[in-house]
Every structure is written in C-alpha cells, then in structure tokens.
Amino acid sequence: MGSQKRIAKELAELVESPPAGISVELVDESNLYEWKVHMEGPEGSPYQGGDFILKLSLPTEYPFKPPTVSFATKIYHPNVTNDEKGSMCLGMLRADEWKPSSKINAVLQFARQLLAEPMPDDAIEGRIAEQYRNDRVRYDEVAREWTRKHAIPK
C-alpha cells in the first residue's frame, strides 16, 4: 500500500512536533488508518479547558480520498452533529474540495480553528447555528456547560 508510507510519515511528524493544542496517537498500534486525537479547547472559546477526543479515520485510498473526522466527546457546536457519531463537516474534507496535497496536520488545525470560530453558515446543527448568531451569550453558556460535563476530566 502506497498510502501507508505517507500516513506513517504524517503520523511521525505529528507525534514529533504536534501543532498547538493537538496530540495524536493510533487507536490500535497495528492499524494506521484509525487515529485518536486529543484536542484542547482553544483559549477564549467556551470550549477552553476541555479535552476533546476526536476520531480520525483514513480511507485506504488516502490521500486520494479525504479522511473523516468525528468527535468522540460530545460537544455543543454548530458544525458538529449532536448525536453519538459527532460527525463533523469540514469544507476541505468534502470529496470535491479535497486535494491529495492537503495534510492531516492541516485538517486538524482547521478543525481546532473551527472550535474557536464556528461557521454558522455551513452548519449541520441549524438550531445551534441560529443560537450562535442571535443569542451568543446563551450559546456560550450551553457550550461551556457541555464542555464541563463531557470534556473536562474529573
């Protein structure tokens, strides 16, 4: 598999010099295609202090097909589905937007950026997006509460 070499390389790079607030590991050492990502809530956002766990899975056709990113930790966010799956909608991960030259590093940084600045125009959870637009205070409150409940280790 040609993709394994690339994935191993990206993994090594990310382990060696992880971007701010992000750390990665393999779910299972023998499987390069399933990653577990720890993401700290960015400062200044209602997710601050939270340790969010994301699942990143790579298709065997990677890098020709985009990876998928989902939140294993529940999060109150307009761009993340509010269910068990926690699927995330990233523009750059859409099949027609994806470029093989994009790296996982960029994907994860983009995801973290999305925590700092949600994109209500590109939302999956319309209700949260509306609240984000119209009632920011309440949104911040709920998001902070969810972070406390789900993402902060006791």
């Binding site: 040609g2 390389k9 093989p100 030259s101």
Partner: protein, 539 residues
C-alpha cells in the same frame, strides 16, 4: 502549452545486459544527456536579462490578477447592467484602434522576424502548428538581433496582456449525474478587449472552427447539442475580468448551478473566475443521445502567469538540471511529492511533471493520470487543468531554448530531438550543430560525472533494496527518446484499470469535436458508390 514531461520510462530499448554493467551504461547515457543539456543551456545568453518584458510578466501579473478577483469589478446585483455597457462604450472608441495599431505593428514585426509573435500566441494552443518558418538561430548574434527587435517593437506598447480563456469539458462525477457532452478543450485569446466570444449550437455555416487557434481569435464556439441555442451565451472581457451573459437561450445558461436568466431572456453580466462551471442547457430526453446532452464547461482564465516563466518553474528547471550531478548537487530546495510526501527531484526516480511545473513520483500520480477523465488531468496541487492528449507544443520549446526559460533541461534536449524528428525543415542545422559541439564539450567532464554518479548509485542501492516498490531498472533510463515517447504514448508498465473504457472515451472525444474528420453529424461521402477516391463499394 501542456509541456507535461513524463520522466517515467521503462527500459524497453535496452538490450538485456548483466545487472551492474547495464546500469553503468545507463548511467553513461544519463550523464551524457545531462552534460549535453546543461552546457547548451548555459552557453546561451539569457534573453530575459536583456529583454525586461520577458521576465517581468510573471511577477508583475499575479498580484494584479489577485486584486481583480478579490474586488469584483462587475456590479453584482445592486447596479443596473447598463453600467457595464457604459464601460464598454467608453472603452471601445479608443481601445480597438490602439490595439489594432499595436497588432499591426506586431504582425509586421513577426513578418520581419519570420516567427509568430510569442506573446500573442501564448494561448496555450497545443495543436497550433508553427506555420511560419523558423529562422535558424544558430549564432548568438541573430538571436540577440531578434531579441532586441522584438523588445524595441513591443516595449513602447507596454505589452498588452491578451485576455485568454479556456473551456474544458467537465463531468460532474460527484453528483453522479449523467455525462455531459464531450468536447475537446477550446481556447480563445481575444484580439482586443472589446471582442466577444459567442457561444451557441454548432452550425455548418460557421465553417469548421479551429478549437485552438494559434492567433488571437474571437471566433464563435459551437457545441453539437440540440439543447444549446443557436445564440446561447457570450463571454466578454471587461476591465480585466471575464464575464458571461446569457443572450436569450431557451434552455438556460447555468453558472455554478445558478441559472442566469429566464428562457429567451437576456441576462446581465456575471463575472466568472478560474474553476467556475458553466452549463449550457439541460439534458433533454434523459440525455440518452449525445445530441441531447447538456454542455458542462470548466472555465480556466487568469492562468497566463502560470504558463510563463515564473519563480516556481524556473526553480524546478534548475532542480532538474541538478539531477544526477552526484553528491555535489544541491538538493536543499528539493520539493516533496505531495502524494507520498517523499522527496522528488532526486536521481533514480520516475517522475511526472505537469505543465504547471509541479512534480510527483510517477507511481504516486499515476492514479490521477489514468482516471476516468483520462485526457484531462487536474493538478492536485494547484488545480490547473491539462489536456494530456494535446499535441506537444513545439513553438514553446523554441522559446524556452532561446530564453533559457523552458521548464527543464530535458525539455530543451527533447526539443532538439523533436524538431529533428518531426519537422526536418525546422532548423536542422542548428540542432545538429549543438549536438556535436555539446558532445565535444561534454567528453572531458564525463568520467568524473560518471564516477560521481556511480558512487551515489552505490549508496542509493542499499536504501533502495528496502524499498520494495522501487523500479530501479526503469528509473535510470533517462534517455531522451524514451522520455519523448512516454510523454505522448501510454506508459509501458501501466496496468489499465479500464482497458476498454479509456481509449473508446478518448476516441469519442475526438470524434465529436467540431472540425475533426470523423464527424458523426456530418457524414462524409467517401463510402458510397459515388466516392471518387477509388474506395467505392469497399467494405
């Protein structure tokens, strides 16, 4: 202008020799080629240093295009469309006269020099034959002369940047819709800014259109589909920005899925940018038959800077020149293959370089080359489109050779070979002269280089043994005719995933092109009993 170089090659031509010996001979061939190419390139005085307009456009243009795209010059919605017509009206009195004047001067200049004006013929016209005889630029004096002449002639006119637009077929594969009408890529360069490119149904009366004219042209673009109206839409260039307008089509013009106007109504101008999708009409009767299919076009515009010498492709050129120069070579600027993230532009690797000068390992990129879209290739780095089946553009090589700005040393060498092989009338004495002189120059250097490379090779070998996928027998074979062959023909060793699909699709594409010989809609009278070429009644 698709100067895609497939540096991948297989050792077909080589007689089987015992391993190391064979490798050494390959190395010899390799180093010889390299030492051929580099002195010839270096010996030539760089035109760009003397002629300022040759080197400037890349740097000067790219920011301006960005500015244009970020600030929409077209009134979007708020202002009435009359505004633009006013602009057009204001522009038209002075503009055409000025540009035609320049054009006339350019033409006379090209007549004097006996070669096409290069900046006008920059239209990425792969199939444009260099109709004018090339002058033999055997000596540097003549070269200098032509250089200064063209500089003198063009510098006062401040080098008008001609507006170029290209249309590529677009298949909406992600929404799994039906295939749209196939056509071969079309390019147009406006002779003057006030010209308009009319798009409509293909008509016999327009004559047989040339999809890629070498000269600037605003000839109409025709598509063989019943869902395209005779007058469907128009493309125009206003204030440095391309626009589209529906001119009252019945089945609609769609810009990125948005219909521009009601049926039979003229729309306002919409600005378009590189990568936009324009659809003409809607599939009729399910699009089962070819002539009822809609046309989907991917627009390419404002990419001229990429087709000229710029920082990036000149850097690539120098890196390629360094290939195989042994341990002394400088790989510090070496780029990575965006697919495997390994380093490219090292010796002993099969590479593929697209027209945009992005380079990958052939193995890594092959999946994107031999896709269902086959003749079309989209660069995964910059999304530039290339027609891989396009004819090799010789005129560009000449330019590259002269101004030392061709994409790579191999390119230049290939150009010499190609011009010898394809058009014997095309300055054979020049290339032959260079061939011999290069050989003379090259020989003293050769042993050193060969040993250098041999050392390097020994080190590499250990590393390579670990790499199971490496095809080291093929990697070395940098001989030029292999390169030329692999650039045009299917690459040996490629396992076709869809052995039947790709070629037929390709044939189909060619067949449905306006202007191609086997035209399904315009049957030729060459098989019936009245054919006059002696084939009458032949099966």
């Amino acid at each position: 202008m698709s100067t895609s170089t497939a540096t991948a090659s297989a050792s077909i031509a080589d007689p089987p020799r015992p391993g190391r010996l064979r490798r050494f001979s390959q190395l010899r061939a390799y180093t010889q080629n390299l030492s051929h190419s580099s002195p010839s390139q270096r010996a030539r005085p760089s035109l760009s240093s003397r002629v300022p307009w040759l080197s400037t456009p890349s740097g000067a243009e790219s920011p301006s295009t960005q500015v244009e795209s970020s600030t929409p010059l077209c009134p979007e919605g708020d202002q009435p469309p009359e505004f633009l017509y006013r602009i057009l009206a204001i522009n038209s009195p002075n503009e055409p006269s000025q540009t035609t004047h320049v054009m006339a001067r350019l033409r006379s200049a090209s007549a004097v020099q006996g070669r096409p004006p290069r900046n006008l013929a920059r239209t990425a016209t792969p199939e444009a034959p260099t109709s004018l005889p090339e002058p033999t630029t055997a000596t540097n004096d003549t070269l200098e002369l032509t250089g200064t002449i063209s500089a003198e002639i063009q510098s006062p006119s401040k080098l008008p940047q001609k507006a170029t637009i290209r249309f590529f077929p677009y298949q909406d594969s992600y929404q799994s819709s039906r295939p749209s009408l196939p056509f071969i890529p079309i390019s147009r360069t406006l002779p003057s800014e006030s010209c308009v490119i009319r798009v409509g149904r293909y008509s016999e009366r327009d004559g047989i259109p040339n999809p890629n004219p070498s000269e600037p042209s605003d000839s109409p673009v025709g598509f063989k589909s019943k869902v395209v109206s005779r007058k469907h839409c128009e493309f125009m260039y206003v204030n440095g920005q391309w626009h589209i307008k529906d001119v009252g089509s019945s089945s609609g013009t769609f810009l990125n899925h948005m219909r521009l106007s009601q049926p039979n109504m003229v729309s306002r101008l919409y600005s378009i940018k590189d990568g936009d999708i324009v659809q003409l009409g809607i599939d009729f009767r399910g699009g089962e038959e070819m002539i009822f299919r809609c046309v989907r076009i991917r627009i390419e515009c404002n990419r001229a800077w990429q087709q000229q010498p710029n920082e990036f492709n000149k850097n690539t050129e120098s890196l390629i020149k360094n290939l195989g120069k042994g341990e002394t070579a400088d790989y510090s600027g070496c780029r990575e293959c965006s697919i495997c993230l390994g380093s490219v532009l090292r010796p002993y690797q099969c590479l593929f370089m697209a027209a945009c000068a992005h380079v990958w390992h052939y193995k890594c990129i092959s999946r994107l080359l031999h896709s269902p879209d086959y003749p079309m290739f989209q660069c995964p780095n910059c999304r530039a489109f290339t027609d891989l089946s396009a004819e090799v553009d010789d005129s560009n090589d000449q330019e590259g050779e002269k101004s030392q700005e061709s994409v790579g040393a191999e390119e230049g060498n290939q150009a010499a070979l190609r011009s010898e092989a394809q058009s014997p009338a095309n300055a054979p004495p020049e290339s032959e002269g260079h061939e011999t002189s290069n050989q003379l120059e090259a020989h003293p250097e050769e042993p050193d280089l060969a040993t250098d490379v041999e050392n390097l090779h020994l080190q590499d070998e250990q590393a390579r043994e670990a790499d199971t996928e490496s095809s080291d027998s093929a990697a070395l074979n940098g001989s030029n005719d292999d390169l030329a062959r692999s650039a045009t023909v299917n690459l040996p060793g490629w396992q076709p995933t869809e052995p039947l699909n790709v070629p037929t699709r390709h044939a189909q594409l060619r067949a449905d092109t306006p202007g191609s010989d086997e035209n399904p809609l315009t049957p030729r009278n060459d098989s019936g009993p009245l054919a006059f070429d002696g084939r009458a009644g032949m099966p």
